[in-house]
């Protein structure tokens, strides 16, 4: 028995159950929540070298599952997000007037499919297996995005499809070249020749589209802004992270010997531009959900901005931990923010930021959740977002990377500029009548997520220790000052 399999098998079993149960499918979260949280805890408790082959079939043919630091951080965070989002989504995706609806029925199997897919993605080292998990997650993501706007959903679908195929093309080249697509084996075998470099390039490009890194982000804001709040939360918190994690695995584990500084700075530069561009776009938004969606574009930039900082670091473990903590903190905070925004917008007449007047008084808990999430996203202390940006800034200054350090600082300030705007309106007085729409259970979801994002700020050492478990050799051992062959 091992949580490595069960973390994937259990959500799939729940997906089947939800599909068969129909109306009753939504009740399953009451079982799935404890089960998955328990499995996540079990994952954390595994010995550091926990890994096994599915069905005992050896590499290079078989598939290896592994509980490394990435998985140990992201699987539990994903689990918490899913549970919170599911509890929040409960009244929204319930039968209406005793009748099952298409959305209420399909939401739950899609949720579990996405859950199983993302867990599978975090745990596997096999690049083709990753392709299948990407498709599991994308499929569910497209369906959820289409629940808000069919047009945005279709656009997302097309982009995601091409992204997947680019990734698959890379896998095909690697499979032909090395007769294996296992990341741990490729780490030993990969040589910097044309097929390998091309494979890495197309895979990265495909995944960047999925991770919505500027300038490949175009599909994200419309899709994430239009979807229902729980769907937006999952899209922004979970879906984009999988693409990022795979890139992380490719660049620092499978192809650590192939990657060149120019490439890593290209990625870092795109990340830096994403931070600036996303923030400026967010500042320009008049409506709340597009603002939060553009904030995702900006926040994803930090994940890639960190790449050169990890690469050049004297102690790569710290920026490595930082980027993972950022991923987790963003997951929690962004899910919280979308859920809180959903509650706030439901209570007021419109969807504009200016409609939020006086909400801090009418719905203090929702606004609190939004504010706590905002603190983490801005990278202000104490929060997981701060821990991450602090470590990154430290690394950037240590390495004399003035531009990255500048972007980290400016990005934080721009973040404050766009996130304090809705808060400011909410704290303002308003004559408009306000409907009270805070259900205790519903507001508990964003509040818990946001509180966790803040709490991460107090667990820095634990997070760093976790992230170093099974870290790729390039991370675990300090690299030379000048990276190279």
């Amino acid at each position: 028995m091992s949580p490595l399999d069960l973390l994937v098998a259990a959500p799939l079993a729940f997906m089947v159950a939800a599909l068969v149960l129909g109306q009753g499918g939504r009740w399953l979260i009451l079982a799935a929540g404890p089960v998955m949280l328990g499995l996540s805890a079990w994952l954390l408790a595994l010995p550091p070298d926990a890994a096994h082959l599915v069905g005992n079939w050896d590499l290079p043919l078989g598939i290896l599952l592994r509980a490394d630091g990435v998985a140990r951080l992201l699987v539990p965070a994903t689990c918490v997000c899913f549970v919170a989002v599911a509890l929040y989504a409960w009244p929204e995706f319930s039968p209406k007037a005793g009748r099952e609806t298409a959305r209420a029925h399909t939401f739950w199997p899609m949720l579990y499919l996405m859950w199983g897919g993302s867990n599978a993605g975090y745990l596997t080292t096999d690049l083709f297996n990753l392709y299948v998990t990407i498709e599991m997650v994308s499929l569910a993501a497209v369906a959820l995005a289409a629940m808000g706007s069919l047009a945005a959903g279709l656009q997302y679908f097309m982009i995601a499809l091409v992204g997947s195929l680019a990734y698959l093309l890379g896998v095909a080249l690697l499979a032909g070249h090395y007769d294996t697509v296992d990341a741990t084996l490729l780490a030993v075998r990969a040589r910097p020749d044309l097929p390998t470099v091309l494979a890495l390039a197309v895979m990265t490009a495909g995944l960047l589209v999925k991770a919505a890194l500027f300038p490949l982000h175009g599909w994200l804001p419309p899709a994430h802004a239009a979807a229902p709040a729980p769907a937006s939360a999952l899209l922004s918190a979970i879906v984009v992270k999988l693409g990022f994690v795979i890139i992380l695995r490719l660049w620092f584990e499978a192809f650590a010997e192939v990657v060149r500084p120019a490439a890593i700075h290209l990625l870092g530069g795109m990340g830096a531009l994403a931070v600036i561009y996303g923030s400026i776009q967010a500042i320009r938004q008049e409506r709340l959900k597009p603002l939060v969606a553009y904030s995702t574009v900006a926040q994803l930039g930090y994940l890639f901005l960190a790449f050169p900082l990890i690469w050049n670091a004297r102690i790569p473990g710290e920026p490595w931990a930082a980027v993972l903590v950022h991923a987790v903190a963003h997951m929690l905070a962004k899910a919280a923010m979308f859920l809180a925004a959903g509650l706030m917008l439901k209570a007021v007449a419109g969807d504009r930021i200016s409609d939020l007047g006086g909400l801090a008084r009418a719905m203090p808990l929702s606004v609190t959740a939004f504010a706590l999430a905002a603190i983490s996203l801005m990278g202000l202390p104490p929060s997981g977002g701060f821990t991450a940006k602090f470590l990154l800034l430290h690394a950037a200054i240590e390495q004399g990377q003035v531009i990255y350090a500048g972007v980290l600082v400016i990005g934080g300030l721009l973040g404050a500029a766009y996130l304090f705007r809705p808060l400011s309106v909410a704290f303002g007085a308003s004559a408009a009548p306000v409907v009270r729409a805070e259900g205790a259970l519903r507001v508990a979801a964003p509040l818990t997520l946001a509180a966790l994002a803040i709490a991460l700020g107090f667990a820095g050492m634990t997070l760093i220790e976790l992230s170093s478990i099974g870290a790729p050799p390039a991370i675990a051992l300090p690299l030379a000052e000048e990276p190279g062959p």
Partner: protein, 491 residues
């Protein structure tokens, strides 16, 4: 007392904060009781700490929150100076705020954030490393923002925006500065100043500029002061807090820490950073006073006065001489007590008589003699009239300037005092010597709430007077400032 005492002291306000946040508005009595109770408890604890630290006890609490970055809380003499000022004035302001707001809207939220401010200010005072200081400094920004926008009107929201823009940018610069320093010399602890000898002077200067520039925002150094007058949109208790204790003092306090506990007097002198900073502080002192003269609104006038007065502290710190340091440190307390008196009086005037502009002050002394009496003591103190506390500060600063070979400081002091007089005396003149407009049946101390509103100002005015008259006694701020100087900086 255990080593956890500093942590306990910091976290104590969390309890009233959480209680305030969760209590509905109709339970205002309970909320007020809890707030007063905890403010009193804190005063008691700090009094005990003062006794211990005077006896030479060192308390510290350390926790490694990230590799190479310690979260360190330390109770030392300088920290206690700021802490005791904070807890004393907080108790006063709590009483005042309860009376000022009565049963207004959003007060649960107000008192919640109010307590978070105490938490952050205490944290700022007790921080033992630069990074710990930054954490609380940033938290202070977050906790004060909801207070600035408390009124919720367009003016407050705008003030809130300006406030955030300035302070967040400032703390970002400060963060870059201390991280840069950390990468060069390792951990930056206040008790164990880092060895800077290996760092190139230019780098050190740049880092100093970043840090002092960042901190200077909150300390309202010209040209980084614009947020402070704008923040006048906040209600009077908040202004009192921002101006007298929490925010501006945190900035000034941070700069003192930078000069004495991070760089050390020697390095600052070597790099030649003291004189430019002193010059900047002097410019701020004169500019603030000049602007204050031109203000027609009472609170605005007081705000510019703060801009000017806070820089006395910086002037004292940057002159680097025993008397100047003592003058600067003691002014940290004196300015706090006097300025809070003035703001509380201004708040009472506007709350009870609707007086907001200087021109409306006519005859206010006859209508509200007690309030105006307190105001007068504060104003005279600011001008530097003996025996009010302000005189002591100016005296020490002037002598300090002469000691440090900067006789121009005396001229700055004199000029500033003249300007202070130019903006305070007309107010006193109007209030006491001109006849009031008709206000039938007004009674200053009609209800118990009235008395609560005015009592705090009377207490602080008395304290300002006492700090001056009994400056040489064992418990005066001056004695404590001398102790700090002896223990820390003048060996």
């Amino acid at each position: 007392m255990m080593a956890g005492a500093p942590l306990f002291l910091i976290l104590l306000p969390l309890i009233p904060a959480i209680i305030s946040f969760s209590l509905p508005e109709r339970l205002a009595v309970w909320r007020n009781a809890v707030n007063l109770l905890f403010a009193l408890v804190k005063v008691g604890i700090v009094a005990d700490l003062l006794r211990q630290v005077r006896g030479g006890v060192d308390l510290e609490w350390r926790y490694t929150f990230l590799p190479g970055h310690d979260f360190l809380l330390r109770v030392d003499t300088l920290a206690l100076l700021f802490v005791s000022l904070s807890v004393f004035l907080w108790l006063i302001t709590t009483v005042y705020a309860i009376a000022y707001f009565g049963r207004g809207p959003n007060l649960s939220r107000f008192f919640g954030f109010f307590n978070l401010c105490v938490l952050s200010a205490t944290g700022v005072a007790l921080s033992g490393t630069a990074i710990t200081f930054f954490l609380f400094y940033e938290l202070l920004t977050l906790a004060t923002w909801p207070l600035v926008v408390h009124n919720g009107d367009e003016k407050s929201l705008r003030a809130g925006r300006i406030y955030l823009a300035y302070t967040l940018a400032g703390s970002a610069a400060f963060l870059v500065g201390i991280l840069w320093l950390k990468t060069l010399v390792g951990s930056v602890e206040f008790t164990a100043p880092p060895d800077l000898s290996a760092v190139p002077p230019l780098t050190l200067t740049l880092i100093f500029v970043l840090c002092v520039g960042g901190l200077g925002v909150k300390a309202a150094l010209v040209p980084l002061h614009a947020w402070l007058p704008a923040a006048m949109a906040a209600p009077a208790p908040v202004s009192a807090l921002l101006h007298a204790v929490a925010v501006v003092k945190a900035g000034a306090f941070g700069i003192v820490r930078m000069i004495y506990d991070v760089y050390g007097i020697g390095t600052v002198a070597e790099l030649g950073l003291g004189t430019p900073l002193a010059a900047l502080a002097s410019v701020t002192i004169l500019y603030g006073s000049l602007r204050a003269v031109m203000q027609a609104d009472i609170k605005k006038r007081l705000a510019y006065s703060t801009v000017s007065q806070v820089s006395y502290i910086l002037l004292g710190a940057s002159l680097i001489g025993p008397f100047a340091v003592i003058g600067g440190l003691v002014h940290l307390v004196h300015q706090g007590i006097m300025k809070i008196t003035l703001f509380m009086c201004a708040g009472a005037l506007s709350n009870r008589l609707g007086i907001k502009a200087v021109a409306d002050l006519d005859g206010a002394g006859r209508l509200m003699p007690v309030t105006m009496g307190a105001f007068t003591i504060g104003a005279l103190g600011m001008i530097g009239v003996p025996p009010v506390a302000g005189f002591i500060s100016k005296w020490y600063l002037g002598i300090g300037g002469l000691q440090s070979g900067a006789p121009w400081v005396v001229a700055v002091m004199a000029g500033s005092s003249l300007l202070n007089a130019a903006y305070f005396l007309p107010m006193l003149y109007r209030a006491w010597l001109l006849p009031p407009p008709e206000r039938a049946g007004f009674r200053e101390l009609g209800t118990s709430r009235d008395r609560m509103l005015i009592l705090p100002a009377v207490v602080t005015a008395a304290a300002a007077l006492a700090a001056g008259v009994f400056a040489s006694s064992a418990v005066s701020p001056l004695t404590w400032a001398k102790l700090i100087a002896e223990r820390g900086y003048l060996e």
